[in-house]
């Protein structure tokens, strides 16, 4: 059986090359991601940094670990998906060959064994290629993570042999998982099909395709419904889930949509004979059309779904910030400079918020042990009365009036830690110990937000005088905010913005981090889908040599055959795009629901630029690949192919 697998592999390599490459890329990415992930577990902080900067580096490490975890997961998902869709297409294309094996005495078990040994071979070859690729990928990923600012320059990844072994196991596992259902389908092929010239005309929508397609669609809908009531982290996870499950569901059910789209295509593009032929081919080759469309569906739904989710969350964060601030201007300065703001003409209220460099220690009892956590960042010194007048977010516990003397308020970032009012926290203020009583807390927000609010009067002047400060200014009635802003500028404070501008900028800054993560993930998903699309177009084109030859014998010229193939492939690409957008849209509906629940307005950002880029890019690649494949497939004299029986 292995000899048979080996010779099939050698003979029909173009059927397998895409699957081999996707396993190789999967192995490489899993290996590299695991190595980087392991290295981020032990963050080496460069010496000579301030505590805040150290915290930032630590946060970067956590971010890098998240990206690597997601990369490894996504790589495995995509590899399994692509291997399985390639193989089920391969089985459909080889139906007659496989039936012939049954005819010459092959049992069902032997057919399953044949496909599984092919996949074992695929997994081994893919892993063998993937391990050296992984070394390159490790450098590429490290460079990228340093370049986007998540990791410090000095970051290095030590080599660990277990990562290679694990990646190899993943590679073989991915290949076997991907081929499993195809092998079951192959085993059901009846020997008689070898005798029917049109052996490929098997049903496309098999029972298992219906079952899996509907189950995945059901899960997708359930996640959309669930996301409506979820918190934001939940909704983000749901959005990722919706993109993945929805893409699989759409791919499985796409054969149902293809005939309808073929009809629509005929209505929209009034027909020359060639367009009519392309349309008929679309309808006739439902299996082939679906196989080409499915990687595009995955690409579009993942890219647009993820990008849309992140952009929506950032936009919602900006919206929330705008709504939670009751003021006209936001001024950025030092604490010292901000002291001059209340005396400027036209300023009614100036709520100064100094990000002070002090330490607050929280002790937590866990399993009879006491764990202490020190916080250096997100500690804001405020005047409680001014703060209350300029911020609309009502505290979840306590009252801001009580924030005087040696007290502290927990911020949105510490909401989940459940630090109850009445507890006393130790603080270190420039070497001076102080004990602060918790008098209340703010609720969770879309953005992480601040950790603690402390009363400014409790701190010595030198602690807040040099601290980076944001001041929310309310303009007195009868004054023009722009004039006030100009006067503030003249007073030597350079950065003055309208609240709405400030909120948009905040959202953009928040989004910048997401864009970094997305760049890595999208590049990956794009690379994968590209391979799969090219692969299925090549398989489809190569297997259609005889059909093309028949068209030419019937009177079509070679360019006409190529043009028909391109029109057909382009239509398939459009189908993939539309279905992918549908999935992404459903995912965004889930996010909109969750945002609505969190801030009272459904905020959705559609990544139009990305959508246009993906649309043009994928249609272009499909058109070019199909043109090249069809041109190669029609190079031989048509008569030699029409006459060929084998």
């Amino acid at each position: 059986m292995f000899q048979m697998s080996f010779s099939t592999f050698r003979e029909r390599w173009e059927l397998f090359i895409g699957a081999i490459l996707s396993v190789a890329v999967g192995v490489a990415l899993v290996q590299a991601s695991m190595l980087v992930l392991a290295a981020t577990g032990d963050p080496r902080i460069p010496p000579g940094l301030s505590r805040q900067a150290e915290d930032q580096v630590r946060e970067g490490f956590v971010g890098a670990a998240t990206v690597m975890g997601m990369t490894a997961f996504l790589a495995m998902f995509l590899a399994v998906f692509i291997v399985s869709s390639t193989f089920s297409f391969t089985v459909a294309q080889r139906r007659r060959d496989l039936a012939l094996l049954r005819l010459t005495g092959g049992s069902r078990g032997q057919l399953r064994a044949l496909l599984l040994s092919e996949s074992l071979l695929l997994g081994l070859v893919g892993s063998a290629l993937g391990v050296p690729f992984g070394v390159i990928a490790k450098y590429a990923q490290t460079w990228l993570l340093v370049e986007i600012g998540l990791l410090p320059e000095s970051f290095s990844v030590p080599w660990r042999p277990w990562a290679v072994i694990t990646a190899g196991i993943v590679g073989v596992g991915v290949a076997l998982t991907g081929v499993f259902t195809a092998s079951l389908r192959a085993a059901r092929i009846r020997p008689l099909e070898a005798l029917q010239e049109t052996g490929g005309a098997a049903r496309v929508m098999t029972a298992s395709r219906w079952l899996f397609g509907l189950s995945f669609a059901g899960c997708t809908i359930a996640m959309v419904v669930w996301a409506q009531g979820a918190n934001l982290i939940g909704a983000m996870m749901a959005a990722l889930g919706i993109s993945m499950f929805g893409a699989v569901a759409m791919s499985l059910l796409s054969p149902l949509v293809v005939p309808f789209m073929a009809w629509l295509f005929g209505v929209l593009v009034p027909g020359s004979t060639l367009i009519g032929l392309a349309q008929a081919n679309l309808r006739d080759g439902v299996r082939r059309s679906a196989a080409t469309a499915s990687p595009l569906i995955v690409l579009v739904s993942l890219l647009l779904g993820l990008a849309g989710t992140f952009a929506s969350l950032a936009a919602a964060g900006g919206e929330e910030a705008k709504r939670s601030v009751n003021g006209d201007l936001v001024v950025t300065s030092t604490g010292e400079e901000a002291e001059r703001l209340p005396s400027i003409e036209g300023v009614a209220v100036a709520s100064r918020q100094n990000a002070v460099d002090i330490t607050i220690t929280v002790e937590e009892a866990q399993d009879e042990r006491v764990i202490t956590r020190d916080f250096y960042t997100g500690i804001i010194a405020v005047d409680a009365a001014d703060y209350a007048r300029t911020h609309t977010l009502p505290p979840s516990t306590g009252n801001l009036d009580a924030l005087t003397g040696a007290t502290v308020f927990t911020g949105p970032a510490r909401h989940a830690d459940r630090i109850e009012p009445g507890r006393v926290l130790a603080a270190d203020i420039g070497g001076q110990p102080l004990r602060l009583t918790v008098v209340g807390g703010l609720p969770e927000t879309l953005e992480a937000g601040d950790s603690f609010l402390v009363p400014r009067q409790a701190l010595p002047r030198e602690v807040w005088a040099g601290a980076p400060t944001e001041t929310v200014v309310q303009v007195a009635p009868g004054h023009d905010p722009d004039a006030v802003a100009e006067r503030i500028g003249q007073a030597g404070v350079s950065q003055v913005r309208r609240v709405s501008e400030w909120a948009v900028e905040r959202a953009e800054v928040a989004q910048a981090g997401n864009v970094k993560i997305l760049t890595v993930l999208m590049g990956l998903a794009g690379l994968y889908a590209l391979m799969a699309v090219v692969n299925s177009v090549v398989i489809a084109g190569t297997e259609r040599r005889r059909e093309f030859a028949v068209s030419r014998v019937t009177g079509l010229t070679q360019p006409q055959v190529v043009r028909t193939a391109v029109v057909e492939a382009t239509a398939v690409a459009v189908i993939g795009l539309v279905l992918g957008c549908l999935v992404a849209g459903v995912g965004l509906a889930g996010i909109a629901g969750a945002v609505d629940k969190a801030i009272g307005v459904p905020v959705v950002a559609v990544p139009w630029t990305l959508l246009v880029a993906v649309a043009i890019g994928s249609v272009g690649i499909v058109a070019v690949t199909s043109a090249i494949t069809a041109a190669i497939a029609t190079k031989a004299r048509p008569v030699s192919l029409v006459a060929a029986k084998e």
Binding site: M4, S7, R102, L103, R108, Q110, E646
Partner: protein
């Protein structure tokens, strides 16, 4: 002759017990489609092919020739009636039994050769035995190929062989397991007259020297005339039969049926 040498009599696999025909169809009906709108491709057909004989099945297009062959070989399930193959009732046999029979009891030769394109001639011939877990030596495979006149083509892939050569590889593949019955569906349909003659002579020699049972579907009177018996089918029913046929005899009867 090479067949005597390499596939001597008495080596048949799964031979029917004495007194049984190699192939027997008893009141077989094969219905396709829904009850009201469907068609009976075979309608109450009974046929018996004795061991060591060559039976040709003829008839106009759509008369049910291929369906008869498929039902007799256990590739298609009959709607009514019984099928016995090499003395064994296969009417409702499970897939495992039919797989086993395809390995040991029956061989197939088709118009379109149906060789596995990725394997060489030699590998194609040895393949069914490998599937059955039977070891065949290289020399055995070479001898069988020599028997069909392809000793020098063992390492070639199907696409490197002519149509007649491919068909002879297919016959060698069918014969290496020494099957009780060889089913042939238009075995010369895709061949030029010279190659067709070679293949027919090969089949005749097999019947005469080792007592091979052959059931063959054809539409060519010249091919049918090589058989011991010709059975004529129309609309799924056996309507005529000739023993020791001549080309002219067969052509006339066929013309009558088609008119």
């Amino acid at each position: 002759m090479s067949w005597n040498q390499h596939l001597g009599a008495g080596h048949r696999q799964g031979m029917p017990p004495p007194g049984y025909p190699a192939v027997e169809l008893h009141q077989v009906t094969r219905f396709y489609g829904a009850k009201n709108t469907g068609v009976a491709a075979l309608d109450d057909v009974s046929l018996s092919c004795p061991t060591g004989t060559w039976t040709a099945i003829m008839g106009p297009s759509g008369s049910g020739k291929s369906t008869l062959l498929h039902c007799a070989a256990g590739l298609d399930q009959v709607t009514r009636g019984r099928v016995r193959l090499a003395g064994r009732d296969i009417t409702a046999a499970p897939d495992s039994v039919l797989t086993e029979m395809r390995r040991r009891t029956i061989g197939f030769v088709f118009q379109s050769f149906n060789l596995i394109s990725s394997l060489t001639a030699e590998q194609n011939v040895a393949f069914p035995s490998k599937l059955a877990g039977v070891r065949v030596s290289k020399s055995e495979v070479r001898q069988v190929l020599a028997g069909v006149g392809l000793a020098d083509r063992a390492g070639h892939r199907p696409r490197e062989l002519s149509g007649g050569q491919q068909q002879r590889v297919a016959i060698a593949r069918a014969m290496i397991s020494r099957p009780a019955v060889l089913f042939a569906d238009e075995p010369t349909g895709a061949l030029d007259s010279g190659s067709a003659r070679t293949v027919l002579q090969l089949l005749r020699t097999m019947v005469e020297t080792v007592g091979q049972t052959i059931v063959m579907v054809t539409h060519d009177p010249a091919v049918a005339a090589g058989a011991d018996t010709v059975v004529f089918l129309t609309d799924g029913r056996i309507v005529d039969r000739v023993d020791v046929p001549t080309v002219r005899d067969v052509a006339e009867r066929l013309a009558r049926l088609e008119s």
